[in-house]
C-alpha cells in the first residue's frame, strides 16, 4: 500500500502563525484601526487552539504519536514533527493559555503605542513555543528556541523608556544568545556521533533497536556510532541540559528571571512565567526520557566503573539537586519581595523547582510505576502552574495598570475596588500554594505521594517545606487583596473591563475544574502521558513504521 500524506493540519500551527506575523507590516501600511489587529491576533490564536485540540484528540484517540514529514521527505532525510501525548498536552496548554493572553492583551494594549509590533512578537512567541513542543528534530528545536527567545527579548524590552526594562532585556538576551549557541554545539556533537538529528532516530540508537532492518535492499540504520558515543552523548547532554535549565530558570540559572519577567508588559509576563519556562522543562524531559531515557544504551545506564553511578543517573541527581534548591530559594525569596511582580517571578522559580524534582526521580533502579506517578505529577503541575501563574500576572497586571504602582504596600486594599481581579488573585495564590479545592493542591499531593512511592521521602518532605516557606509570599498577596485598610484609589473610580474579568474568571474556573475532574484526567491523561514518556517504544516504532512505509512506497513496494 502506497504511503498517503498525513493531513497538513498536523504540521500547520507554527508555520501558519509565523506567516501571519510576516503579514502584519503590510497591514500597517493601510490599516490604522487597533480593533483590526486585536481581531487578527485573536483569529490566529483561535486557529492555533483549534489545531492543538485536533492534534490532542487524534493522539489520545489513536494512542500513538502523530508524525508529519515536512516536504514529503522520508525520515531521516527531512524534518519531522512527532507529537506524542506529552507534546500534545503541553501544546494544548500553550495554545489555550496564549489564546487567553491574546484576549487580555486587547484590553492591555489600549493606549499603548506600537501595539501592532507587540502582536507580531506575541504571534512569534506562540509559533516558537508550539514548534518546540511539536518538533521531532533536535536542530529544529534549536531554531524554534531562538524564535521563542528573540520574541521574548523584544517583548521584555517593550517598555523601552524604562531603563530597568532595557537592562533586564539585555541581560536576558546576552546570556540567552550564549546558551543557544551552546545548544547548537550540542546538536553538532549528537549529529557527529549519532548520524541523525531526529529525536526518534537518536532514541532508536540509544535503545539499541538495530535489529529493525528494512525489508528489502536498503537499511537506514547502520548499527554504528561515529567516534566515541558515550563521550559525545555525555558532552551533548551536559551542554543541552545547561541550556534548558537556563531557559527554565532553575537555580543557579535563574538569575535573569526576577529582572526579566517583571519588566515585561503584564500579559507577556504571564506568557513568560506561565509558558516559556515550561518550554525549557519540556525540552529537558524530552531529552532525559524520550531520547536518553531509562533503559537506553548500556553505557548510559550501567556505569563506567564499579561504585560510580552511571552518567544518566548523575545528570538526574544534578537536575534533582538544582530543582530542590530552586524550590527552596524561590520560596524564601518570595517572602522578602515588595514588588508584586518580582514576588510572582520568584514563585515561578519555586514551582519550576518542583517540576525538576519530579523529573529527576526517573533513575535506573527506581520502580517504574512510581516514576510514572512522578511524571504524571510533573505534567499536572506544569499545567497548574501555567494556569495559576498566568492568572496571577494578569489579575495583578490589571491592578497595577489602574493604580500605577507595583509596590505591594501601595496596592493594599485593592480588593475593595477591584472585586473580580481581587477574588481571582486570591484563587490563583491559593492554587499555587496548594490549597483545596484548587488543582494545585492535587498536583502537590501527587508529587508528595510519588516521592514516597519512589523511595525518596526526603524529596516529599522538601515539597512540604518549600510550600510552607512560600506561604509567606502568598500570604502577602492575599493580604494585599483582602486587607480592611482603605483602598489605594477612591471607591468607584475603577471600572473593571469585562474582557479582563472574562479571562480571569475562565482561568479561575479552570483551576477548580481541574480539581473536580481529577480522577478522570489523572487516569486518562496524565498517567498515560507519563507512561508513554517513560517508555518510548511506541514513539520509536511509530517513527520506524512511517519511515519504512515511505521508503517501501518509494521503491514500488
Amino acid at each position: 500500500m502506497a504511503f498517503v500524506p498525513p493531513s497538513p493540519i498536523y504540521g500547520l500551527s507554527a508555520i501558519l502563525l509565523i506567516v501571519a506575523a510576516f503579514a502584519v507590516p503590510i497591514f500597517t501600511l493601510f490599516v490604522k484601526n487597533k480593533r483590526f489587529y486585536d481581531a487578527y491576533a485573536i483569529a490566529f490564536g483561535v486557529f492555533a487552539l483549534a489545531i492543538s485540540i485536533s492534534i490532542a484528540r487524534k493522539v489520545f484517540a489513536s494512542n500513538a504519536p502523530i508524525i508529519y514529514p515536512f516536504g514529503g521527505w522520508p525520515p531521516p532525510l527531512g524534518i519531522v514533527y512527532e507529537v506524542d501525548m506529552f507534546g500534545a498536552v503541553i501544546g494544548l496548554l500553550i495554545s489555550s493559555v496564549m489564546f487567553l493572553i491574546i484576549v487580555y492583551s486587547t484590553w492591555y494594549t489600549e493606549r499603548l503605542s506600537g501595539y501592532e509590533w507587540y502582536y507580531t512578537l506575541l504571534l512569534g512567541l506562540e509559533a516558537g513555543m508550539l514548534g518546540v513542543v511539536y518538533t521531532g528534530d533536535i536542530f529544529n528545536l534549536f531554531v524554534m528556541l531562538e524564535v521563542v527567545a528573540i520574541s521574548a527579548y523584544g517583548l521584555v524590552a517593550f517598555y523601552r523608556n524604562r531603563p530597568q526594562a532595557v537592562e533586564a532585556a539585555i541581560k536576558y538576551a546576552i546570556v540567552g544568545a550564549t546558551a543557544t549557541t551552546i545548544y547548537f554545539i550540542a546538536t553538532i556533537f549528537i549529529y557527529g556521533s549519532y548520524n541523525t538529528l531526529h529525536m526518534a532516530g537518536i532514541a532508536m540508537r540509544n535503545y539499541g533497536y538495530f535489529h529493525l532492518t528494512f525489508p528489502g535492499m536498503l537499511n537506514y540504520l547502520p548499527g554504528v556510532f561515529y567516534g566515541n558515543m558515550l563521550i559525545s552523548a555525555c558532552i551533548a547532554l551536559a551542554l543541552s541540559l545547561w541550556v534548558f535549565t537556563f531557559k527554565a530558570a532553575v537555580f543557579p540559572n535563574h538569575f535573569w528571571l526576577p529582572d526579566a519577567h517583571p519588566e515585561a508588559p503584564a500579559p507577556v509576563s504571564a506568557a513568560l512565567s506561565g509558558l516559556v519556562v515550561k518550554v525549557g522543562a519540556y525540552a529537558s524531559a524530552r531529552f532525559m526520557y524520550t531520547m536518553f531515557g531509562l533503559g537506553s544504551t548500556e553505557l548510559l545506564n550501567h556505569g563506567i566503573a564499579h561504585g560510580v553511578p552511571p552518567p544518566r543517573t548523575m545528570f538526574m541527581i544534578a537536575l534533582g539537586v538544582m530543582g530542590a534548591l530552586s524550590a527552596v530559594i524561590g520560596a524564601i525569596m518570595m517572602g522578602i519581595q515588595r514588588d508584586v511582580k518580582r514576588l510572582l517571578a520568584y514563585s515561578t522559580v519555586n514551582h519550576i523547582g518542583f517540576i525538576y524534582m519530579a523529573m529527576a526521580v526517573g533513575v535506573q533502579g527506581a520502580p517504574r510505576a512510581a516514576i510514572a506517578l512522578a511524571l504524571a505529577a510533573m505534567v499536572f503541575h506544569m499545567i497548574n502552574h501555567s494556569v495559576g501563574k498566568s492568572l496571577l500576572f494578569m489579575s495583578t497586571g490589571a491592578m497595577i495598570k489602574h493604580v500605577g504602582s507595583r509596590d505591594l504596600d501601595k496596592l493594599v486594599g485593592i480588593g475593595k475596588v477591584m472585586p473580580v481581579a481581587g477574588a481571582t488573585t486570591v484563587i490563583g495564590a491559593l492554587n499555587l500554594l496548594g490549597v483545596p479545592p484548587f488543582a494545585g493542591f492535587l498536583s502537590k499531593y501527587l508529587l508528595y505521594q510519588a516521592f514516597l512511592a519512589v523511595g525518596m521521602p526526603y524529596l516529599a518532605v522538601l515539597v512540604v517545606v518549600a510550600s510552607a516557606l512560600s506561604l509567606l509570599g502568598y500570604a502577602k498577596l492575599i493580604y494585599m487583596v483582602v486587607s480592611s485598610k482603605p483602598a489605594p484609589v477612591a471607591p468607584g473610580s475603577i471600572k473593571e473591563s469585562p474582557v479582563v474579568c472574562g479571562v480571569l474568571i475562565v482561568l479561575a474556573i479552570a483551576t477548580v475544574a481541574l480539581f473536580a475532574a481529577y480522577p478522570f484526567v489523572l487516569k486518562h491523561v496524565f498517567v498515560v502521558t507519563a507512561q508513554h514518556l517513560i517508555d518510548p517504544r511506541i514513539y520509536i516504532s511509530k517513527y520506524y513504521e512511517v519511515m519504512a512505509w515511505m521508503w517501501s512506497s518509494l521503491y514500488g513496494g
Binding site: 508555520i15 524534518i79 506600537g114 509590533w117 529544529n140 523584544g154 523608556n161 566515541n228
Partner: protein, 362 residues
C-alpha cells in the same frame, strides 16, 4: 602528498592565527582595535571555510562577518563608548595567550598520537551520503531535490522548515528593533553639497552600486546551481544601500522618499513570498483534490504535484528553490535597509522620543 600537506598546514596556520586574533580581540580595551582583530579572525575563518570546502559559507560569511558586522559595530561604537574600563596586567595577558597556544599544539599532538583513527575520516556519514546521492538525481525523482547545489537543497528543501523559521528569527529581531525605536520619525532636506562625501565619491558610488546589485541578484538567483542563495544574495545586495547611506547620507533616502515603512513593506512582501512558496504545492493540490505536503518542492511519495525543475530548453530551474531564493534576497536586503535607516537617525532626535517619558505601566 606534498600539496596535501601544504593544504593542511594552511588550515593549521588559519587555526592558530585565529587564536591569536581572538585573544587580542577579547583582551583589547580599545573597541575599534577589537573590531579590527575580530575582522582579522573573520577573514581567517573565511579562508578556513574555503579550505574546508564550504563555498556557501564563505559567500555568507564575507558579506556578513567581514562587511556588515564591523559596519554595525562601528555604528554602535560611534553612538556609544570606545574604551572598555578594565585594567589587566600585561605579563599575565601574554602568559595566558602563550599558554593557550601551547595547549592547542599539545592537545592536538595527544589526539593525533593516541590514534583515534584518521582525522578527518575518509568517508562522510551515512546520512550525508544520502543527501549527496539525492540532491540532483533524476533517476530517483521522488527523493531528489533536483538541484545540484547540495547545501541550498538542504537549506530550502530537505530542511526548509528550519530556514523558514530562521527567516522568522531575523524578521522578529527587526520587528523588535523597530518596536524599540517606535515613534522616532526624522526627515531632512537633502543637500547635494552639504551632505555625504565629495562629488568624486558620489560619482564612483553611482558606478559601483549597479555592479553590487548585479552581483547580489546573480548570487541569489543562481543559488540552486552554484554556491550562494537568497540570504547570501540579499546580504550582498544590502551593501549597495549601505554604501549609498554612507556616501550620500541618510537625507538622500528622504529625498527619494524611500522610508522605513516602505522598506518594511518590501520586506514583508518578500517574506510572504517565502510563505506562499512553502504552501504553493499544497494549495494547488487542494484545488486539484490531490494529496500534498507543506513545503513540498518536487513530487513525493503519494503526492504527485511539484514545482517545475527544468525549463523548456533544459535550463535547471531548481523548483521552489528559485522562488525561495528570490523572495529571501528581497526580504533580507530590505531588512538591512530598515536597520541602517534606524541606525542613521541622529541621536538627538531619537533621545527626545525614547528616553524618559511616561510610557509604562505606572
Amino acid at each position: 602528498m606534498i600539496s596535501l600537506t601544504l593544504y593542511y598546514v594552511l588550515m593549521a596556520i588559519c587555526g592558530l592565527g585565529s587564536v591569536v586574533a581572538v585573544f587580542l580581540a577579547i583582551v583589547e580595551r580599545d573597541m575599534l582595535k577589537a573590531v579590527l582583530f575580530s575582522a582579522i579572525q573573520s577573514t581567517l575563518y573565511a579562508f578556513l571555510y574555503y579550505l574546508l570546502m564550504a563555498p556557501d559559507i564563505v559567500l555568507t560569511y564575507i558579506p556578513v562577518s567581514v562587511g556588515l558586522y564591523p559596519a554595525v559595530i562601528l555604528f554602535l561604537i560611534k553612538k556609544t563608548e570606545r574604551f572598555e574600563d578594565v585594567e589587566m596586567k600585561k605579563g599575565v595577558l601574554w602568559a595566558t595567550g602563550l599558554l593557550s597556544l601551547v595547549f592547542v599544539i599539545a592537545t592536538a599532538a595527544v589526539i593525533a598520537g593516541k590514534g583515534i583513527g584518521p582525522v578527518p575520516p575518509p568517508d562522510v556519514r551515512f546520512l550525508a551520503g544520502w543527501y549527496l546521492a539525492t540532491t540532483f538525481n533524476p533517476r530517483v525523482h521522488l527523493i531528489s531535490a533536483m538541484a545540484p547545489e547540495g547545501v541550498t537543497s538542504i537549506v530550502w528543501d530537505y530542511r526548509g522548515l528550519d530556514t523558514v523559521f530562521e527567516t522568522a528569527v531575523l524578521f522578529l529581531a527587526i520587528i523588535a528593533s523597530v518596536a524599540l525605536m517606535r515613534g522616532v520619525e526624522h526627515k531632512g532636506v537633502y543637500d547635494e553639497l552639504k551632505h555625504g562625501m565629495t562629488l568624486i565619491g558620489k560619482t564612483i558610488t553611482k558606478i559601483v552600486v549597479p555592479l553590487i546589485i548585479g552581483v547580489g541578484i546573480s548570487i541569489a538567483l543562481h543559488g540552486h546551481l552554484t554556491p550562494g542563495g537568497g540570504f547570501q544574495g540579499g546580504s550582498a545586495l544590502a551593501v549597495a544601500p549601505l554604501l549609498v547611506l554612507v556616501v550620500f547620507s541618510k537625507y538622500f533616502f528622504d529625498k527619494v522618499k524611500f522610508t522605513k515603512t516602505k522598506a518594511l513593506a518590501i520586506r514583508s512582501s518578500g517574506l510572504l513570498g517565502v510563505g506562499l512558496t512553502a504552501f504553493a504545492v499544497l494549495i494547488a493540490a487542494i484545488f486539484l483534490h490531490k494529496p500534498a505536503y507543506i513545503l513540498q518542492n518536487q513530487p513525493r511519495v503519494g503526492a504527485p504535484l511539484g514545482f517545475p525543475w527544468k525549463g523548456i530548453d533544459g535550463v535547471l530551474l531548481g523548483g521552489s528553490l528559485l522562488s525561495f531564493n528570490a523572495c529571501e534576497a528581497m526580504a533580507v536586503c530590505a531588512g538591512f535597509v530598515i536597520l541602517f535607516l534606524l541606525l542613521s537617525i541622529p541621536e538627538r532626535y531619537v533621545r527626545s522620543v525614547v528616553v524618559g517619558g511616561e510610557e509604562h505601566e505606572h
